[in-house]
Symmetry: D2
Subunit: 446 residues, 4 copies
């Protein structure tokens, strides 16, 4: 399942299942895994853990996925801290917070499975194996909340190891290995890449693609971002990804637009990568192309229509009375067009043919959704990501993505978030404290 | 002080001091450092920590070393866990060891300075900075035991990051960059390299040199080992490092002898490196040269004469009566030759001219020292290292190192430890449980 | 036209023509080119030729293709040897063949344009420019036989510079740069590559692709060969290039089959490349995969049906009377099936449904064509290439390529040539002296 | 002798001789070499020459050097053009200069040994072998003028293959492989490098070292140049090569001074390398460091004292009467100081202590030697090299090299030649036509 990084990481649950069917289930296997874990963590394992770690890796590989649950249960039940010992250590530290007492406390409180995973990591392929294990664990978690602490340990270690300081940013272009480019095609999650011709256009000099790599997972992009270098802040996705568009001459590069960002490793969910990648790319482009004045995104609003359908009590709420009233009217206009439950949305809606009143209504609601709701968990996930990174809500674009998915998610709207490298720290801070920083244009609309 | 990896890591205390004299001491600096630390650890720091981390790095760089103590005190006093909070969390976890309670406990018990260092690591040069900081901290520790818990956190993080799985082994030869080879000359700690001609001989095909590197410290060897490929297990160091010796033809390579291992990074003291390097090199050579039958060391016994001078109560002790008696007689013979307090040791001692009785006495005591004392903290550090790695005590060699240092440390004795890759795990285990595994030849001498 | 290797080399005549239409024709341009050529060849040019060469390159680039003819005429008329001077030098040398006379003769007889081209080569991009110029020259040659000596000089120099000793063989696989793989798709001349999926299959571990590169044309494959590793000598092309076929496990690799070889540089026509590539690949695979027993081709017979249609006087000829008679009968059978002039060939011919007599007739004629005609200029060009390289005519395969092109060229027949590295020298020699070395099986059919 | 490039090229005559003594002389060897040469050149060799070429290489390697002469004689006697055939071809071409006749003539006139060497070059190590052979041939030439035409063929081919377009310029610094740097120490011919510490200083950021490499001789520098980046045109060599001098900050780099240029390959004598290297380096530095205003040399005058000792008829000669008179007086002053035959030169001469009249006399003669004699074969070889490259004679420096060699060659004088990239072509041209371009300062002194 996870012996070799490349094949491992790509294995999905379905393939694990298929393998499980082939391999016979053996009740003694789990016992052997438990023994090997104990051996790896013993003093005996300290000096020789590479051999034992490699052995454990092979055993876990041979385990059918049904029994992998058993492995996580084992970690949960037998490799957690001893409550008695921690309590004693905590009491002593509370009485006298000396270095000695603190070291004992820290040691007692750290779940032994963390050290177990660190030792598993010593064998070749260890990091890939741990990422693959966490991928499986995350799929189990919704039904097994008792494994949350085990999962927290995986995330804790992977966050430390995939620390931004250890990641290498690399540009990918038409000279990159085909194998690598194939992964880009496969993982592009925002605006699908239709094939090699489509990809080729996205790697021309006025389009850029950057990815993070980790030294332990060579050839495996962790996350990648696609950038369009354009003369003006773009208001629609079509021209950016049109394979037939002619490349722009460098002297016209004024705006760097991040138009797609995709994670490649489900096993690294929750590890901060995108935030660091965007900023590192922006700095890199800023140095390479001093003529760039603006760094922004062209982003979808994936949660908009779903949020519209939720019950809203426009009468109450944080908004000022005048705004509340306008929102109510806008909501009513939508229900008139798309049915009381908005079930007819998007239906045959075409932004270009929408009457001005409807357009006004939709835009108002979108402005409110992004500028007010983003500070709450109900907010749009993409908005929360960029605003949380310190970006500014810049402009909402009508008829920006008129494909099926775009209409379904957001009635064709897209949004620009602006990254101003000198301001991101302060804006992030304001967002953390409940404020969405907007452009003047947007502030005036609300 | 630690902005750039290469220059940083080499900076010794003296240079820090020199810099301190130049820079004016500024009482407000420490306050600014404390503020930056807090900012880096705040929510605000989460999204922007690279800029803040780089800022903190620069501030620490500008700190005169006297004030670096202040930084470690700051970590100790303001970035440790809250005793009250840990105690509460431990009590709850003791009452009900649920995932939720455990996550809270683990979070509460981990000193916040660990996360602070992880964030500091995000900026370019962060890892080098942390290694350099620990180097300073280790020099302070003997007089400041209160900083032990801070030091433990540094070691904890560096052990996780310099995990064997993240290290890259590379062979160094005459085609390596001169810059790198210069570091080898500089750091060789066991058998000094006199210059480039001397080094050149140690990089011929029958001599090998391997080092560990970390992706974050490119061009910086962490530790390196030198190997001689010879026809027989060597009994003296002279021929192995003789720059004038003719290279041996590959068909005569039968024994790989590790004759020197040197750490290059004082800031990584206590992080397991040597153990893994020896085994990785042994495996590598085993694959490259299947004709190799034996992997052993030719090692110094740095603690021998110092141990001889310690008071010994030969009459009691673990040894059998017959052995006790022989040790007493041997001890007496030494004191006859070198004075009652052994103050005349080594004096003008020349192993080749020693009378047989004296040689027998010295060898017996050396066998006892290595085969019995190694399991105790009084034991020889080199012996404890190799035996703890699972090596076997194989042979003691008379007149093996007749240089000044060799005579002074061990009256010219050296020792071979045997690495049998199939046995190291079990032998390590026996050593942990108090047994030194010896060759038959040595067992018979005791 | 040829400033940058990559773009240059790909430029076809049509694009040159298009450019010509855009650029105005300027009668003084040719004069300037002539002046620059003279300056480059003068003593003044000796020390500074890089600047002058770059200048000449730019001037040639700006020339419309119509005027390129003018450049070749210039080379022909003004940069050939002086007949008078050569005659004198030859006379002196004939009278007294001393070193001095010989040096004078060699110098006088070498066309000065050779040195001119050598100097043109000194500027960056020079080699690419010369290859591109020759490409144009070769297209002019059929109508301009007076330029043959100029062409001979180009070939002479390029043969020296693209000497096998200067070529680098590289394997191409799925990790190669996409840009390079795109060239493979583009240049595959034997069995078209339908797209990236098709290509991907041809780069799996049981299919190999090797190319020659020259240090001066980085990223530009000169020629490449595709190899299938299979259990038995293949009798049909279909399975070898089927994108859906499962890769074969290495333990079954017994036969390396060269199934396609394609030149990428028309400007290098006549420079020996393929011969050296096949042998270098065979040696490489022989070392990498000692289990390979057989190196052979699966080759088309592009000239077969065209040869059949030529008038044959079967009654006379080198063949023995019995064979002549059989050939006559076979020829008659064909004409019965496909019309007296064979104009109905291939028509609706399907090898699998052919009556045994027809199959016998076609196979006999193919055997004769390959085994007898190959030593004459009438012979099949692919046969002459492989037999001239020292391969053996091994087996003719019925219904081996039933695609349109295969049926049209050779009624679906393909042929295996066998490369036995220990025998190629002798077999080449026999071929040069008029003998086609055949397998027993083939010899018996004739 | 020349199987492997690296070892081969370094082999001197002495080592060849030593080997010869060991290997028995075998009269049949030469016959075998002759046979192999013929086979390599035959049609049989055309398709298989790599194997035959490798065979010939091994045979030549096994030849004792005494018999290598035999190989060159073989080339001279049996692989030259046929006088009869050339004469006929020349006559036909003179009668009718058609393409066909010219091709026949060119083919007939080219010595077949050229093609033989091209084929020898096809085997691995071929280029290195040919360079090594020419090295031996050059040592034989003074006593064997009959081999001059053979030598001319070697030079012709090597000039074509080591064409500036095929050479790669690389900077060497402290990160270069030690093996490569060792070659620099070994080959520095102008200002000896005393060891690694000395070398290290010459590779600091204000000192540069660039070399030419050929793809076929990897790791073998062909020629290298050392450059000092300084604030002013330097007047003495001492400070430039002082290992203890502190490196200069880049903002003070104003003048790039070429202070040493050394050939590494005696077998490439007469192949233009230095000229191209200096210009390529100057362009490279000009791009990297736009603040550089001046590119010049600090050069020795190796022929000065030897020229002074030659008989001079000052009374006649090209110089104007006034100058002739001054030269005569200066000459007399020297003979007064150093004896009538100048046998006492340099003796205990110390430039710093020289009386002004003597200094004036020496400087005048030096100016005349460089500014007038350089256009004749009697001129200084270094002056002729730089002036022939298009440099300007800029300044003569008193007490510039007061080491033993400097005093002996030129009484401590050195000279700056100025490279003005925009002028080199025209200046070269003027030099070719008999004019030395001087600075105003120098012109005024004469």
């Amino acid at each position: 399942m996870f012996s070799l990084p490349s094949s491992t990481l790509r294995l999905g649950i379905s393939s694990l299942r298929a393998r499980a069917r082939r391999g016979a289930t053996d009740p003694r296997r789990m016992q052997r895994v438990a023994d090997t874990c104990r051996r790896l963590l013993s003093e005996r394992g300290e000096a020789n853990s590479i051999a034992i770690a490699a052995h454990l890796q092979r055993e876990l590989l041979a385990l059918p996925p049904e029994q992998l649950v058993g492995f996580f249960e084992l970690l949960e039940q037998q490799f957690g801290p001893d409550p008695e010992e921690v309590l004693q250590a905590a009491q002593r530290y509370a009485e006298a917070p000396t270095a000695e007492h603190l070291i004992r406390l820290t040691t007692a409180a750290e779940p032994p499975r963390q050290e177990l995973l660190r030792r598993l990591n010593r064998a070749p392929g260890g990091t890939a194996a741990i990422v693959a294990l966490r991928r499986v664990l995350l799929t189990l978690l919704p039904k097994r909340p008792d494994l949350a602490a085990v999962e927290a340990d995986f995330q804790h270690l992977l966050s430390s190891w995939f620390n931004a300081g250890f990641l290498q940013m690399e540009q990918m272009d038409w000279r990159s290995p085909a194998e690598l480019l194939e992964r880009i095609i496969e993982h592009e999650a925002v605006h699908e890449i239709a094939g090699w011709t489509d990809l080729r256009r996205r790697l021309q000099p006025d389009r850029r693609c950057f990815a993070f790599f980790h030294p332990q997972l060579p050839g495996e992009p962790l996350i990648f971002v696609e950038v369009a270098l354009v003369p003006d802040m773009p208001g629609a996705i079509g021209p950016l990804i049109d394979p037939a568009s002619p490349p722009l001459a460098p002297r016209h590069f004024k705006v760097a637009t991040f138009y797609s960002i995709s994670n490649c490793q489900p096993g690294l969910k929750g590890v901060s990568l995108g935030n660091f990648l965007i900023k590192r790319v922006a700095e890199h482009l800023h140095r390479e192309l001093p003529q760039l004045r603006t760094f922004c995104t062209l982003s979808p609003i994936p949660g908009f229509t779903a949020w519209l359908r939720q019950p809203h009590d426009w009468a109450s709420g944080a908004a000022k009375p005048r705004l509340r009233e306008r929102l109510q009217r806008a909501d009513a206009a939508l229900r008139e067009r798309f049915g009381a439950e908005l079930t007819g949305m998007p239906g045959d809606f075409t932004p270009d043919a929408a009457p001005p009143e409807l357009r006004d209504a939709i835009e108002l609601l979108a402005h409110y959704y992004l500028a007010h709701e983003s500070v709450t968990p109900r907010g749009d996930p993409v908005a929360r990501f960029h605003l949380g990174n310190g970006a500014r809500l810049e402009r909402i674009n009508w008829a920006a993505d008129t494909g099926r998915k775009g209409l379904k998610q957001s009635l064709g709207l897209m949004v620009n978030y602006l990254y101003d490298l000198g301001e991101v720290e302060e804006r992030h801070d304001r967002f953390v404290h409940g404020e969405v920083v907007c452009s003047k244009r947007i502030a005036q609309r609300l």
